[in-house]
Structure formats: structure tokens, C-alpha cells
């Protein structure tokens, strides 16, 4: 049995750790609430855009926008939205497993968040660039990423741009998801428009300026906000996963402290018994 002092020291260190994890849990839950709100509001915005799309059905089908142009050949570009910091459970590794399983081996990768960089390189995949976003990023910070993706797609002959992220379902559940960011397909737009329950009698609508012009300005907006949305979902998932992981860690630490305290008390009891035994033996011997 380890000495009393050893046990005491261990209890102290576990208690310190649990205070840290507890603090991290609080921070994560505060950030989570914010990220969650933004992610949900972002969904609102996308669906509002989709309401407008719903009335442009005809021109969507005939559109020759470069963002909707499909190519037969070319490699895939995969954007992986992961986290900059760890301590968020299996969030990143689950996402990475999904990405490896579902993407072609010759694909190029871009990461937002740095945690998966080494794993991507170790898996012998080509990493083109890695971006970092702070927790309360704004449009300005997202713009270079947007430009990079757009430029890569338009000029470097990629067949498709896929974005992989952890979809925020609720605090306990996040699901790894791959979404085709580019080219934007008519089916995708109509699917989003269909989700909302809007009546589609587009014939009666007056369009100003023409449907084509509207579409030309709305498509980049949609693309940009889709990217924003995905990153927001990623952030919300990260904070929830971290909160849950830290909560588990705090509870675990509590369990360990209980065990150690029990052990400590037992050891103390033994020590006292031993001392008493010594005293009584000594008195007995003196009689």
C-alpha cells in the first residue's frame, strides 16, 4: 500500500486537474451557446435565400453560371473543417475516418483548423493549404478562404469541391458530413427550396432585374453563405463536443478522487491501528 503522503499528493493533483476541466467546460458551454445561436440563425438565412431560389426554378435549370458548370474530369478538392485545439473527444478523428472512407485517394486537401494536418500528411494525402479561424470570426476572416476555394475551382480544373464537417445536431450528437460545395447543382437548390413549405407558382412573380441577373448575384452569395454556415456548424459542434468531453473528464476526476479518498482513509486507519498495536505491545512487554 502506498504511503499516506503519496495518496494525498495524488488527490491534490487530480483535484487540480478537475478544476481545470471544470473551467474549460464552463468556457466551452458559454462559447457553445453563442456558436449554436449563430449556426441556427445561419440556417435561417440560407432558407430565406432558398425562398427566393424557389421562384427562380426555370432560370436555375438553364443557368450557365461558372459556379454551376460541371466538369467530367479532374481531381476533387476536399475542404476539411476541423478544430484548432484538441480536447474535444473523438470529433476530429471521427471526421477524418469519414473523409478517408469517402474521398478518392488522389484528392487534394485544404483544412480549416490545424488539428488534422499531421494526420492528412501521414495518410499520404496532398495538403494544399491550412487556414485558421478564431472562435468569433467574421466575414472578413472568411473571405480569403472563400477566394482561395473559388480560384482553385475556376482555374485549377477541379471536378468538384467537397466540404467535410461535423454537422451540429444537438449538444450530444454531431454527425460527420460531406457536402458538395461546388459546382452548385440545380437539384441541391431545389431540394433546399423544397424543405421549406413555399408555394411555387413562380409564374405570377414580377422579377427585377431579369431572372438571369438575379441568379448571377445570388449564386455567389449562396456559395459564400453556405461556406459560412458549414464553418459555423463546425464551431458549434466543436464547442459542444468539448463541453461534453470536459464534463466527462470532471466527473471522472470526481470518481478518482472518491476512490483515492477511500484508499487514503483506509491507509490512515491502518496506520493508527499499527501505532496502537505498537503501544499496547510495548506496555505488555513492560509488565
Amino acid at each position: 500500500m502506498s504511503s499516506l503522503r503519496d495518496i494525498k499528493r495524488r488527490i491534490k493533483s487530480v483535484r487540480n486537474t478537475s478544476q481545470i476541466t471544470k473551467a474549460m467546460q464552463m468556457v466551452a458551454s458559454a462559447k457553445m451557446r453563442r456558436a449554436q445561436n449563430m449556426a441556427l440563425q445561419g440556417r435561417n438565412y440560407i432558407s430565406a435565400l432558398a425562398k427566393v431560389f424557389a421562384h427562380l426554378e426555370e432560370s436555375i435549370k438553364e443557368s450557365n453560371s461558372e459556379l454551376m458548370h460541371t466538369r467530367e474530369e479532374g481531381k476533387s478538392l476536399i475542404i476539411v473543417v476541423n478544430t484548432d485545439r484538441g480536447l474535444c473527444g473523438g470529433l476530429n478523428s471521427n471526421l477524418f475516418r469519414e473523409v478517408l472512407a469517402k474521398s478518392p485517394a488522389d484528392a487534394d486537401y485544404v483544412t480549416i483548423g490545424a488539428k488534422l494536418n499531421t494526420q492528412i500528411i501521414r495518410a499520404d494525402r496532398k495538403l494544399l493549404a491550412s487556414f485558421s479561424l478564431s472562435d468569433n470570426f467574421d466575414d472578413k476572416a472568411l473571405k480569403p478562404i472563400f477566394d482561395f476555394i473559388r480560384k482553385s475551382y475556376l482555374e485549377d480544373g477541379y471536378k468538384e469541391v467537397i466540404i467535410a464537417y461535423q454537422e451540429f445536431i444537438n449538444v450530444m450528437v454531431q454527425k460527420p458530413k460531406l457536402h458538395q460545395l461546388l459546382p452548385i447543382t440545380a437539384e441541391e437548390l431545389m431540394a433546399i427550396a423544397d424543405e421549406g413549405d413555399y408555394n411555387m407558382d413562380s409564374s405570377n412573380f414580377l422579377l427585377e432585374p431579369s431572372a438571369d441577373d438575379l441568379l448571377r448575384s445570388i449564386l455567389p452569395l449562396y456559395f459564400f453563405n453556405m461556406l459560412t454556415q458549414v464553418v459555423l456548424e463546425g464551431k458549434a459542434s466543436e464547442q459542444s463536443a468539448r463541453m461534453v468531453a470536459m464534463k466527462a473528464a470532471t466527473e471522472n476526476a470526481k470518481g478518482i478522487i472518491d476512490c483515492l479518498t477511500l484508499e487514503y482513509n483506509k491507509a490512515r486507519q491502518t496506520q493508527i491501528t499499527n501505532e496502537l498495536l505498537e503501544i499496547t505491545t510495548a506496555t505488555k512487554a513492560m509488565e
Binding site: Q41, N44, L49, K51, D139, D147, L207, E208, D213, N225
Partner: protein, 137 residues
């Protein structure tokens, strides 16, 4: 019958209320919407949006470019920014303009056409915002 009026920006639902009338800068010129307006989709420019709520006096907002949809007395505006005059911080807007102008000047050769358009658009939006603020004071 009042109009159901909603403004949605990426960050928040900026406004959701019932109004009697609404004036805004559309791509084809100033537009006024009254009850029973024809169904319409239009793009919206930077500028001042005035509306008259069912109760209280007329109010105005600055809105950035975006889209407007009118459908059976339901008005939806999707835009990247919507603020009231009091919420516009002059210093930060001026700084933003300055930053954008410097970026435009310094990297003239490096900027792609899109980046230029983006920056110019940003400047135009911020200037319009300042203008709006000045008029309200």
C-alpha cells in the same frame, strides 16, 4: 391589412413586425410597397429603408445589398447588413473605408478583378452608411 415584414441577415433576424408601408432602394430605383402589392422579387441596393409600423411613427434603417421578396403581403428581405442610425459607429466605419482604400491602392497589381469589385463594393456600402447616418443627425 398590414404587411408582414421580415429582414434576415446572416447574423440575426434584424426585424420582424407588421407594417403599413415600406420604401426601399431597389435595383431599378426607389420602390414603395403598400398592401396588395404585386408579387415581386427584386435585388436591393445599399441605402435607406423607411417603414411605417402599425403602431408608432415611421422608422428607418440602413440596409446593404440583397434581395427582396413580396408574396401575398409577406415581405422578406435577405441582406448582409441592416442597422439603425444610432448603431452606426462613425469611427469604425471610417476606419473600415480607410482600410479598404489602402488595400485597393497598395495591391493594385496583385488584386484580381473580383477582389477589386469586392473592395469597391465594400467602400460604397460604408460610404452609403455614413451618408445615412449624417442625414439622420
Amino acid at each position: 391589412m398590414p404587411l408582414q415584414f421580415t429582414i434576415i441577415t446572416p447574423m440575426r433576424t434584424a426585424l420582424d413586425c407588421e407594417v403599413l408601408a415600406l420604401q426601399l432602394p431597389a435595383s431599378e430605383g426607389e420602390l414603395e410597397i403598400l398592401p396588395d402589392h404585386v408579387d415581386l422579387i427584386s435585388s436591393v441596393e445599399n441605402g435607406e429603408l423607411r417603414y411605417r409600423p402599425v403602431v408608432g411613427e415611421a422608422k428607418s434603417l440602413f440596409i446593404g445589398g440583397g434581395f427582396l421578396q413580396v408574396e401575398h403581403n409577406k415581405i422578406l428581405i435577405v441582406t448582409d447588413i441592416a442597422v439603425e442610425a444610432g448603431d452606426i459607429d462613425k469611427d469604425s466605419v471610417e476606419k473600415a473605408i480607410e482600410r479598404a482604400q489602402i488595400a485597393l491602392k497598395n495591391r493594385d497589381s496583385v488584386l484580381t478583378r473580383e477582389e477589386q469589385t469586392y473592395l469597391e463594393g465594400k467602400i460604397a456600402q460604408q460610404l452609403a452608411m455614413l451618408d445615412f447616418r449624417k442625414n439622420k443627425r
